[in-house]
């Protein structure tokens, strides 16, 4: 293997980031470390730009948390690029994350990170890197490996179902039955709720809204889009292989990320 193995550390606490870097250098001197990412968006940007082989992602980070960074990486990773980075989650105390990863291929580390545990993790990573098909392995195996991640992201406790959405426009409160919404789209700090006739801006994050929607009727198809199933007219691939949805009653097309493409396999 000629190209050096590269790794990205995403950790918002500077002391812990520096310590993990020092420990990695000691245990794996050949490993090339990218500059530390101090928050979620920085981690995503740096990983997409530098395309490291390994990512150590803190779960609780400002901006995007570690799981969201992983999801975004899977969705935005270039089709023609190298294989997805192997991801290791680092957490102080997230029982749910531990349960989900206990039996999965992706590893996790508990803070404070013990050197022996880190060493075992690195051995595992080396093994996985060696097993990896020569670069350009395509997206299918990676998507399969990330199935537990998808599960983890949808593992929110079911909140009470939302029947009517409320949006303030000027001094008037508008009420719209949730069934009329064709799709929800995350827009910065807001969520756009799009019906056949109009759009409403909700002061809420999409990930807070999602658990309140009926999963039978509202399907997440991308990290920033949730579509009502009955609004979908067609699903088809473009020449680049990307999956798109067309809708009843709306002209725009919606992109389906590869994490969610499995839902439209039979169609």
């Amino acid at each position: 293997m000629t190209a050096p193995i590269t790794a990205l550390i995403a950790e918002d606490e500077p002391l812990l980031a520096a310590a993990l870097a020092a420990e990695l250098r000691r245990l794996w001197p050949q490993l090339q470390l990218l500059p530390i990412a101090a928050n979620g968006p920085q981690a995503l940007e740096r990983a997409l730009a530098e395309q490291p082989d390994l990512c150590f992602l803190d779960i609780r980070m400002p901006g995007l948390d570690g799981l969201e960074v992983a999801q975004a990486l899977v969705e935005d990773w270039p089709e023609s690029g190298p294989a997805l980075p192997l991801m290791v989650f680092v957490t102080a105390y997230d029982r749910y994350a531990l349960q989900a990863f206990e039996a999965q291929a992706v590893d996790y580390l508990l803070k404070p990170v013990e050197p022996a545990r880190l060493d075992a993790c690195l051995t595992r990573l080396r093994q996985r890197l060696a097993e990896r098909e020569p670069p350009r392995s395509g997206s299918a195996p990676d998507a399969a490996a990330l199935a537990p991640l998808l599960q983890l992201l949808q593992q929110h406790a079911a909140a009470p179902r939302l029947e009517v959405i409320q949006a303030q426009i000027g001094s008037t409160l508008h009420l719209v039955p949730v069934d009329e919404v064709l799709y929800f789209e995350a827009a910065d700090k807001y969520v756009r709720a799009v019906t056949a006739q109009r759009e409403l801006l909700l002061r809420s994050a999409l990930r807070e809204l999602l658990p309140q929607l009926d999963p039978q009727r509202f399907w997440p198809v991308h990290r920033s889009t949730v579509v009502q199933a009955r609004a979908i007219a067609t699903a088809g691939r473009d020449e680049a292989g990307r999956l798109w949805l067309t809708l009843h009653g709306r002209p725009e097309r919606l992109a389906v990320s590869r994490l969610h493409a499995g839902r439209f396999k039979g169609m």
Partner: protein
């Protein structure tokens, strides 16, 4: 035996408990019969029949009435523990006695008449012009019945009150320990604890003196948290001590967050000895960190201050974090903290204290301001000390 096992094994309205009353009643009646037989030099057998008949009739009417009244009351007001404990309330009990005793007395006497062949003095049998012996005997036995039934009712009342008081005390204690546990869990949040320990582990190798300082802060924080979860002498915790504990907590967080966190605490000299409930502000500072500053990419400031305004002590926690609107959903944790602060203020000062949480306009730096107002204690002057 704990109060819990008493209340759970004690079912005062069960058939068994009512029959037990009946048995006690029969014994008391037998004793009265013996006493009457000696007093009147009468026939013990006859006295026993009368005493038992009257006593058991009174008992059946009174306990039956009590049972019905309690059932009704439990249905109407399920929260009142005393009805479930067999006490229908004083008014109902007096009414039951006033109706039950004369009816029981007359019914019991007629039954005993039928059994013994005697004719007891009844109002319709005694003419007005009759001499006083008939009326005297009637009144004596009626008053005796009232006295016995009244004493039994009093006994029931005292016992019911005792059990209800014990059950209430136990409920309050259970609530208090639950709250204490929840408070402790929220303050010793595992994420904060393990992240702090992870930082400490790194610092030990890098910068031992700083690691020691951090450990001292952690020890002070843990000690304060554990102490505050126990009942403390009211008024023994000063504002100066409260702010020192907040400084311990913020020092720990500052090591973790590095340059992303800037903090300041401002305590005027005159307010240092003001008494406050221990760790009153802790949940507010924690909310600012967890829901305001930690999720903010660039972090921000937190300012803690105290002022005296028109007889009120005003404590403020202000952060420049992401604000109330955009804070990611963790309403359970933050609501418990706020609710807990409100409850403590209400139990100590009633309506005289309050907590307000408001967003700060972007023009003033954004973020969130939490303000607590509570009555200012007059400063302890030297004349009071003497």
């Amino acid at each position: 035996m704990s109060a819990a096992s008493i209340t759970s094994s004690f079912a005062p309205l069960s058939a068994r408990a009512l029959l037990r009353h009946g048995l006690i009643n029969a014994l008391v009646c037998s004793a009265i019969a013996a006493w009457l037989a000696v007093l009147q030099h009468g026939h013990f057998g006859v006295s026993l029949v009368y005493s038992l008949s009257i006593g058991m009739a009174c008992w059946a009417l009174i306990d039956g009435g009590r049972w019905l009244a309690c059932r009704r009351k439990v249905r109407l007001a399920p929260d009142d523990p005393r009805a479930a404990m067999g006490w229908p309330g004083s008014a109902a009990m007096v009414l039951i006695l006033l109706i039950g005793v004369p009816l029981g007395y007359i019914g019991g006497s007629l039954l005993a008449d039928a059994l013994t062949g005697h004719r007891s003095p009844m109002p319709w049998r005694i003419g007005w012009e009759d001499d006083s012996t008939g009326w005297g005997a009637f009144a004596f036995l009626l008053i005796l019945s009232f006295a016995v039934s009244g004493l039994t009712a009093l006994f029931m009342y005292v016992r019911g009150t005792l059990i209800a008081t014990r059950a209430e005390a136990e409920r309050i204690q259970r609530l208090a320990s639950e709250t204490r546990l929840k408070l402790l869990e929220s303050q010793l949040e595992p994420h904060m604890l393990f992240n702090t320990l992870a930082n400490l582990r790194v610092l030990i190798a890098l910068d031992a003196p700083r690691a020691q300082a951090m450990l001292d802060h952690l020890i002070a924080f843990l000690r304060a948290t554990l102490d505050a979860s126990r009942a403390a002498t009211p008024g023994s915790h000063t504002l100066a001590a409260e702010f020192e504990r907040l400084a311990d907590y913020l020092s720990l967080i500052a090591i973790r967050m590095g340059p992303r966190l800037r903090w300041s605490i401002d305590l005027p000299e005159a307010l240092r000895s003001q008494p406050v409930p221990p760790l009153l502000l802790q949940p507010l500072v924690e909310n600012s960190i967890r829901h305001g500053l930690e999720p903010a990419i660039d972090g921000g400031d937190i300012q803690i201050g105290a002022t005296a305004v028109e007889g009120l002590l005003v404590l403020s926690v202000r952060d420049t974090g992401i604000g109330l609107d955009t804070a990611p959903a963790n309403p359970k944790g933050s609501h418990f903290g706020l609710q807990q602060v409100r409850e403590r203020l209400a139990s100590l000062h009633g309506a005289a204290a309050r907590l307000r949480l408001e967003p700060v306009a972007a023009a003033q730096g954004g973020g969130t301001l939490a303000r607590i107002e509570l009555p200012l204690c007059p400063p302890a002057g030297p004349q009071e000390l003497r």
